[in-house]
Each structure stands twice: as C-alpha cells, then as structure tokens.
C-alpha cells in the first residue's frame, strides 16, 4: 500500500514539475494557431458583415514594445483597429529601455518564440540588424511614402549593417533634446552662445531663480555636452575612427558646460534626473530647461503642476548645436511567419493619419515633417514649431556603430567626473574618454568610415 502511495506521489510530482518546467517555457503564442474561437466572440450580430473572411484571420503577431507611456494608448487602439480590419492580432509585450536588449537577445536565441515586431530605439538595430527583415521591398510593394520624413530620419535610418542601401526599420517617434525657455523671462531666444550665457546670467538670482535646469546624472549630461561640442563644428570621430573629442573644441565645449552648470543652474543639479529638472522649469525656478520633452510636457500641460502657464516655448540650441537625436523604430524579425501582416501593421501605425492623430492627442513627435506644419496640430501643440527647428538640425551619436553604448555611457561618466570635480582638468577627462572609445572601437573596428 505504501509503495503504491509513494509511486502515486512520484508520478504526480513528476507531472507537476514537467508542466511547470516545460509547459511554462512554451511560447505563449503558438504561431500557427487556428482561427475560429476568439474572433467568433466579437462577430457582429448583423448577418451581412459576417460573410467575408478577414485577410489575416488567425494571425498573431508578437510585438516587443519599448515602454513609452506617451504612445501606449494610441498603439493599443491601432492594434485593435488592425485586428478589426485584418483579423491579425498584435500582442504587445512591454519592456523598459534598460531591459529591452537582454530580452530581445534571449528571444532571438530562442528562435521560434521570438517577437515578430520590435518597437525599439534605432541604436539597438546596430547590433540586431542581422535578425531584422530588410524592408526595402515591402516599402516598394506597399507603396509606403517616406518622402515626408525629416532628412535625419531618411539619412540615418538607411545603411545599418553591411549594405548602405538597406532599411531595416520605419521610424515612429523622432526625438532630440531641445531647449525649453520661459517666454516671460526670455522674450527673444538667443542664437549665439554668448547671448545665451548673458540670458542665463540675467535670470540667475539665487536662491529665488536660476537661468538653467538640467538633469545632471551622468548619462543625462551626454546630450548637454554634445550640444555644445557639435555647435563648434567637429564630428565625434574621424572617418577612420580616431576620437576627436579630446581636441581643443572638446575641451572648450566641456568648459562651457561646466560654466553654465556651476554659475546658472541650481546647486545640486548633478544629482538631478529628468523629473527634478523638468519640475524646476515648470515651477518657475529656472528660466530654461535643456532636456527631453517627454518628461516636461506632462507638467507643463497640467495647470496644477505648472506655475508658468503658457509662458514657455521650445527651440533649438544656439549656433547649430544639437543634443543626440534618436528614433524609436518598428522593425520586423526576419524569421517571422507573417512579414506582410507585420509590415501592414507597421505601415498603419505610422501612416499620416495616425501620425497626425497621435501628435494632436499625445504630442507624439513623428518623423513626418508635414505634421509639424499642420494647422490643427500646431493649434493643439504650439511647441511643435520650435521642436521642428530642433529636428531639422538633429543628428545621432555613433551612427551604425554596434558598440555605440560602450562609447555612450563612458561619455556621461567622463563629463560628470569633470563637472563634479572628480577630475579637475578637462583635457585629462577627455583624454581618458578618448582612450575608452579607442579601446571599445578596437574590439571590432567597423569596415565603413565614420560619418555624421
């Protein structure tokens, strides 16, 4: 009797463990799932509409969605509309910027269980492009219009990988850090760094008011430094991958940034992240804010949070400066079973109609240039006019370089080390940074020339 009960227990335990281990690891979405059940729930009662089978009935597309609260609601709406129209269900799985690469890498290793669509920062495609589907033929097949895009979206979205003509992704969001300024304090925004400094100085009267608000944690200082460095005219690297960052211009840019932060920003900004910097501008403490718009707009548009009302505008940096631009793109996994459905979904998400709707409803900064000139959009988002100016001069850092993040993050560390006084000589900070860049590039020097 005891033997039988033990045997029974072992069998049960093994079955449970098997279900736990193997069942749990199965892809949540079987790729070729039959059609019938779920659509039947939503079938309308009216007879006439039931007749025709939808184009992608039963297709399920898994999408890795890089967390972006600004567009999440709109994205879900389009997923529903797309399902209604085509029968293809798009399942969104969210992951923040920090964990998107490990997840995608794991999914790629897992093969079949991978995601059909990726919505990610384009920089991740510098590594993942061998697993992405070239979209040129689909763009042609579906007559997808890219002519309305900003120059930067056209230029920097092509040529990733080993073929200069291939496009692996469609940009959905295009962002660059602009300058927000208080129009009551700064009626006319300056076009030179000298005038910019004068305005920062005029508006600095501690502790009541300061000229500048920035997020000063290491990674956020990169854009501030690049904005000043690029305005001086040099690229980050030579065509044959030698760092230029530790040149005289690099030193000048770094010193300029330190002067701006030390003299015109509230004390302690090096410990601030985006929310604190945004709040400093929105509550009127600082006259300008250099940073990402995603953090500050919710504050400025909320009358309970903002103390400056409508007295703010957006513009580009003086003297042609720009922080590092990036786009959030939609790409397709090359082994997807439904490339056409995936592309049609991408085309729908990013079409002109949705771009306009998303811009009006959530202020989504689309790569479609004409949207910024649309009167309805301008009425809903007056700041789009200035943002367009910033996008016109925008450029990315380390375009196409797979190890871009190994260059990017140490830049923040080096800039922050100088700003915080850990390193007192800007030349030393930049020489160390240049050495780090060289080491990272040496691991796999790209076989194309560096360009911006």
């Amino acid at each position: 009797m005891r033997k039988i009960s033990n045997l029974f227990l072992v069998v049960m335990l093994t079955v449970t463990m098997s279900i736990f281990i193997f069942g749990g690891c199965k892809p949540a979405v079987p790729v070729e799932e039959p059609v019938v059940e779920e659509p039947a729930l939503e079938e309308p009662v009216v007879e006439e509409t039931v007749v025709e089978e939808k184009k992608y009935e039963g297709v399920e597309l898994r999408m890795m969605f890089q967390t972006n609260p600004a567009i999440e609601k709109n994205m879900k709406e389009v997923c529903e509309e797309f399902y209604e129209r085509t029968g293809a269900k798009v399942l969104m799985e969210e992951a923040p910027f920090e964990s998107i690469m490990p997840k995608l890498m794991a999914s790629i290793e897992a093969g079949e269980a991978g995601y059909d669509i990726w919505y990610v920062n384009i920089e991740f495609l510098y590594t993942l492009w061998p697993y992405a589907l070239p979209l040129n033929s689909y763009i042609e097949k579906y007559n997808y219009d890219t002519s309305d895009w900003f120059d930067a979206a056209i230029k920097y979205g092509v040529g990733i990988g080993d073929d200069p003509n291939i496009r692996y992704s469609i940009p959905l969001v295009m962002v660059v850090p602009p300058v927000f300024y208080n129009t009551e304090k700064i009626p006319e925004y300056p076009t030179t760094w000298e005038d910019y400094e004068n305005i920062l100085a005029e508006n600095t009267n501690p502790p009541e008011e300061y000229g500048l608000a920035v997020a000063g944690v290491p990674v956020q200082t990169i854009k501030l430094f690049f904005a000043r460095y690029w305005s001086l005219g040099d690229p980050l690297l030579t065509p044959d991958w030698k760092p230029l960052i530790n040149s005289e211009k690099g030193v000048k840019a770094l010193e300029m940034l330190k002067k701006h932060i030390d003299n015109y920003a509230p004390p302690g900004v090096l410990g601030w992240d985006n929310p604190e910097a945004a709040a400093s501008f929105a509550n009127g403490l600082s006259a300008t804010y250099e940073g990402w718009h995603g953090f500050i707009l919710p504050l400025l548009e909320d009358s309970a949070e903002s103390k400056i009302g409508d007295n703010w505008a957006v513009t580009k940096y003086p003297e042609g400066g720009t922080g590092n631009m990036t786009t959030l793109d939609l790409a397709i996994f090359k082994d997807t079973k439904y490339p056409d459905a995936a592309f049609e979904f991408i085309a729908e998400v990013s079409n002109e109609e949705n771009s306009k709707k998303w811009a009006i409803e959530g202020g989504n900064t689309t790569p479609r240039r004409s949207i910024y000139e649309d009167p309805e959009v301008q009425a809903a988002q007056p700041w789009f006019k200035g943002y367009k100016e910033a996008l016109d001069v925008a450029k990315p850092s380390f375009w196409k370089v797979p190890q871009w993040i190994e260059l990017f993050i140490p830049t923040g560390d080096a800039v922050s080390q100088y700003l915080s006084g850990q390193i007192t000589d800007p030349q030393v900070a930049l020489d160390q940074l240049a050495a780090t860049w060289e080491e990272a590039i040496k691991k796999a020097t790209p076989d194309f020339e560096y360009s911006e």
């Binding site: 093994t14 590594t127 302690g268 410990g271 601030w272 850990q422 691991k443």
Partner: protein, 292 residues
Amino acid sequence: MLAENRRWSIIFLLPSVLFLIVAYVYPMLYSFFMSFFSYSMLIPGAEPVFTGISNYLSIFNNLAFLNSIRITFIFSVSAMFFQFIIGLFLALVMSANLRITGMFRVLMLVPMMITPVVVGILWRNLYNSSYGAINFFISFLGIPPQTWLGSATQALPAVIVVEIWQQLPVFAFILAAGIASIPTELNKAALVDGCGRMRIFRHITLPLLKPAIIVAFLLRIIDTLRIYDIVYMMTQGGPGTATKFLSLYIYERGLKFFDIGAAAAQSWFFLIIVLLIEIYFIRLILRRGTAG
C-alpha cells in the same frame, strides 16, 4: 527498509535537484567557462574567442573596476559599522521590556517593508538640494543647504545613510534575539555579586552575543556588497563615478555592453572576494561552536 527509504528520498529529491542544476548550477558553470573568453555580443556575428586568464589579469589594470571595489567596500564597512552600533543600542532598548516595545518593534520594521526602488525615490526627494526636507531641517541648525547627491564627496555618505536607515532592523532584531537567549540567571548572579549595568554588558552580554553579532555581519556583508537598486534610483552611479558600486559596474559591463567574458570574470572575482570574507565569518562561528 532503510535502503528503500533512501531510494524514495532520492526519488523525491531528484526533481528539485534537477531544477537546481538547470536553473542555478549550469548558469554558474557556464559563466565561469565564459570568463575565459573574449565575447562582445553587441558585435553582429561575433564569436567567443578563448583568451585564457586575460579577463582576470585585466581586472588589475582596470582602474574603473578597482575604484568600484574601493567604493563598494567603503560603503559596506561604513554601513555595517553604524548598523551594528545603532542596532545594538536598539536591541538593548527592545530587550528592556518597556511598554512601548511592541509598537517600537513594528515601527522599526517599516523601512524594511518598503521596496528598494521606492526607498531610492523617497530619499532622492528628501536629499533634493532645492526643495528636499533634509536641507529644510538642517537650516534650523544654521547649516547652509547642501548638494548631497549632486556632490562627488557627499553622494556616497548620503547613500550609506539610506542603507543604514533601511537595513538597521536586521541588526537590531538579530541582536535582540541574541540578547533574549542569554540566560537571565547570569545577569542576576552578576547583580548579586555587585556588578554595575555597564560591567554586566561588557563582561556578560557582549561576549555571549558574539555568535549573533557574527551572524548579523555574515548576512549583511552579502547584501551590502551587492547593493544595486537603491543606488541606481538615487544616483545612477554618479556624480562622476562617486557611487558606481561593483554591482552597477558589472551590470553595465554585462547587460549593457554585453561584454560577456569580462563581466563573467569580474563577477567571479567579486564572488571569490565575498566567499573569502564569508568563510572567515563562518569559521568564526564554527570555532565558537567548538569552543562552546
């Protein structure tokens, strides 16, 4: 009968052991294996290249990594020192059987119940140089506003304070349990012999508390050396590299740069250091056990 029981025990244990091997032992062995390779997963088409012990040797030339070790140990030692001193005091208060002891114990646990991410955000706001509560309160003492997390010299102490605040109950409760286990007869006998409170504490309580102290340190060392979430939320390793602890550094190398070989070697190096410290403490416990 014994043999049969043994067989069944093995059968019952097998699933768990298999699970542990798959989920725990295999990844560890694999990471050890990878630590002898150069492998940057960011580079499309890159393959692991065997480089022997070069990843381990490069640790000693890597100033950023060595700096992270230094910061991590400063953090760990300082935090534990203050946690021990304050924790011991609180343990004595808790053992005093006062009317408020129950309430006090519950309140003590509150910081530990808050998730590290929330703790990070909470203290980030408290330390805010412009509107933070800490600057507000120190102004009453005539101290000018400080930049705290925005200063390369103040950020590390600021993070240490948060660690002390949140994990203090671990020390306090372990030590309180240790005090409770000391036979009261010893104290009574000492009192009869004319010992003062201080002498009782020094010659009876503290020596008998040693095992509890060692256990508390043993547990806290592991936690403090691998601190990540609070620091990430508070400073992201800055300003500069002032709070770039080892866990942040290795995470960055492994899961941001995907420099798998180097990150694996650094992790193993770190693990060996932690193991050596742990072995030292475990031997202390065992020695006391044998002596007792």
